[in-house]
């Protein structure tokens, strides 16, 4: 028996080329000293595998038609065995993948690993980044509730800003003039077939390039890349001090990736998947569509941008970003790689992180959104017995002022806080502002009566 197994093993080894082809690949020499900073790319790859596995499992339960998707999501979340956890793992896995792809890219940028001869690794990586975001976004749409439906509309409006072909592009995205059965079918196809196919091709290329050009050696100050001598130097270095990829370098990748996946599962069990909102009807207007956290910074950016330039930036911004990223390894192709010698690059990367982080925080708070559920001011919070003032306070809520203005901790954040407005503005000035509006404030002149205006001013005049 043992003899037979050994023979079968030898036969397979010969026909499949395990010791001839695969093992040399696994044990190919890599530069020594590649420490924990090298693990993010492979962790992103493991997240992708996690997403494929959990995604396939979800397709067993999910109904990709507009009329049934919502119910099947309810089923997955509340009835299917471990369905809730499965959905949650897929959600946190997506988060993890976006995060790790981002961190991997930052690491590559900070250590300038994109320089000669690894330009194409960077270029394919840029495409992988955007494909990851496209997967993240279409995945969010497959959560086909009212938030999903309205997010699709918002996306269509954004592609509508493409010059000349905007409307066509928006139609193509929605699958027609309006949201409908065809919209979800298309998003489902993109998310489960088209994008993954491209993703696998690009990941294959990305990995092949690592074998072709070798893993970049840890950067060292004072050892610039010279395209003329680099390849020779790299080969010599490998011969002298290279270590086999497996297991000397790969153990860290695997340990870190396994830890990442365990964290994702723990988060999934602990927090569960994002709640479903109302059914996917575009006639349900009490929706406030916001993307999942990974796209919130972009969402916040558009909310904060001056309205005059925004329509152009929605189109030009992404185009310039992609072109800039693609151009990077060709603009700076040789020279120092060490972050110690490239302080501006490190500073720039830091700025991007801080910028994105702040946008994310702002996006969570969404101070630009009117607070429709602001509680009306009560006699208590008004501190006054004057009937005119009380009427003014009541009108302040009724006319929507409170949605955007904060008074004593009540109300929205869109406009300036008015808790002590009478210290800043005289009744005359208040009147001008309310009647004429300006910027983000509507001109209430044509909306409220003279009498109502007088009450509101009387109320505001007590706020000091």
């Amino acid at each position: 028996m043992r003899k037979f197994l050994r023979a079968a093993g030898a036969w397979l080894d010969d026909r499949l080329g395990i010791s001839d082809t695969i093992m040399p690949l696994a044990r190919h020499l890599v530069p020594p000293g590649a420490k924990w900073s090298y693990v993010f790319g492979s962790a992103a790859l493991f997240c992708l595998i996690l997403q494929v596995v959990t995604g396939v499992a979800l397709t067993l339960l999910y109904q990709p038609t507009s009329s049934e998707a919502y119910q099947s999501l309810q089923f997955i979340t509340h009835q299917a065995v471990f369905g809730r956890t499965l959905r949650a793992i897929h959600y946190f896995g997506a988060s993890g993948m976006v995060l790790l792809v981002g961190v991997h890219m930052l690491r590559v940028y900070i250590t300038a690993s994109y320089k000669f001869p690894r330009e194409m690794s960077w270029v394919s990586g840029v495409f992988l980044l955007f494909l990851t975001l496209a997967m993240a976004f279409t995945g969010q749409l497959l959560r086909w509730d009212s938030n999903g439906v309205w997010s699709a509309v918002v996306a269509a409006e954004q592609v509508g800003r493409i010059p000349v072909v905007g409307t066509l592009a928006a139609r193509l995205l929605l699958g027609g003039d309006t949201i409908g059965g065809q919209s979800l079918s298309r998003f489902y196809s993109y998310h489960t077939l088209l994008f993954p196919a491209i993703l696998f091709g690009l990941v294959g290329l990305h990995l092949y390039l690592v074998l072709r050009n070798g893993v970049s050696e840890p950067a060292e100050a004072g050892r610039p890349v010279d395209p003329k001598t680099y390849r020779q130097w790299y080969q010599d270095m490998l011969k002298k001090v290279g270590v086999p990829f497996w297991p000397n370098a790969a153990w860290r990748d695997i340990v870190f990736s396994a830890a990442v996946i365990l964290v994702i599962v723990a988060l999934a069990v602990g927090y569960g998947p994002p709640e479903l909102t109302q059914p996917p009807s575009p006639a349900r207007i009490h929706a406030n569509p916001a993307p999942d956290w990974y796209l919130l910074p972009i969402f916040a950016l558009f909310a904060l941008m001056p309205a005059r330039i925004e329509s152009y930036v929605i189109f030009i911004g992404p185009v310039l970003t992609v072109l800039g990223l693609l151009a990077l390894p060709f603009i700076s192709n040789a020279g120092e790689r060490s972050p110690l010698r490239r302080p501006w690059a490190v500073f720039g990367a830091g700025c991007v992180v801080v910028f994105m982080g702040s946008l994310l925080l702002l996006g969570e708070q969404a101070p630009w959104s009117p607070k429709f559920d602001a509680k009306p001011l009560t006699a208590n919070s008004v501190h006054s017995a004057d009937p005119a003032v009380l009427r003014g306070a009541m009108l302040f809520s009724k006319k929507g002022c409170l949605y955007c203005h904060l008074i004593d901790g009540h109300g929205g954040h869109r406009g300036p806080e008015l808790t002590a407005v009478a210290r800043r503005l005289t009744p005359g000035e208040l009147r001008i502002r309310i009647v004429n509006g300006g910027g983000n404030m509507p001109a209430y002149g044509g909306v409220i009566s003279e009498q109502e205006l007088a009450y509101i001013i009387a109320f505001l005049n007590t706020r000091k």
Binding site: S66, G160, P279, E310, W368, P370, G439, G446, V447
Partner: protein, 192 residues
């Protein structure tokens, strides 16, 4: 790779002759080779095109068959008091059977007088979020980025670059109020 093999010219002569002979047997004449290259590329091209037409049609389907528009009943005259504003729900022009509730749309319908109606798209002209009519304030407000419109649909404040789109409304002989369906309004930066 530097192989330790002998250069070809130092290899034993007879072997080379035999190999040459064999290679010559299999070699194609230049015109024939050219023809076969063209044939394989050309035929693959035709095959790709034959498959590509239906595939591209599926991809571009939304652009190839513009959706029709149709009048939909949203109520009767007695449902709407003069001066009031209502959210009306209707079915899109040409829903597929598996649309479910996602083929519904809504509009803000106001009865201006006995015979005149105005209907606004619920889609904000900024990024398409659903605007709400605030009856007491007499304004449309958008939850997404605080876009605000006056009751005539013109921009009152915030980021929207243009006013709310309107639907066409007609009152049929039997007093049905009908709305002409329309695409989701897409704001462009270039005039169309």
């Amino acid at each position: 790779m530097n192989s330790p093999d002998l250069p070809a010219d130092k290899a034993p002569q007879p072997a080379v002759d035999a190999a040459d002979q064999q290679a010559a047997d299999h070699e194609l004449s230049a015109p024939r080779r050219e023809f076969l290259v063209k044939l394989s590329l050309g035929l693959s091209g035709v095959a790709a095109l034959a498959v590509g037409v239906p595939v591209a049609s599926a991809v571009l389907a939304p652009l190839l068959q513009p959706d029709p528009q149709t009048w939909r009943k949203v109520g009767t005259l007695t449902d709407f008091a003069v001066g009031s504003t209502h959210l009306v729900k209707f079915e899109n022009a040409d829903p597929v059977a598996w649309s479910g509730v996602s083929s519904e749309s809504a509009a803000w319908l106001r009865r201006d007088s006995d015979t005149a109606f105005t209907a606004f798209s619920v889609n904000c002209a900024h990024l398409g979020c659903p605007v709400r009519w605030e009856q007491d304030a007499g304004l449309f407000m958008c939850p997404c980025h605080g876009g605000i419109y006056y009751k005539d649909g013109s921009v009152a404040a915030g980021p929207p670059p243009q006013g709310l789109t309107q639907y066409r409304i007609r009152v049929a002989a039997n007093h049905d109020v009908e709305l002409l369906t329309a695409p989701v309004p897409i704001t462009n930066i270039t005039p169309t």
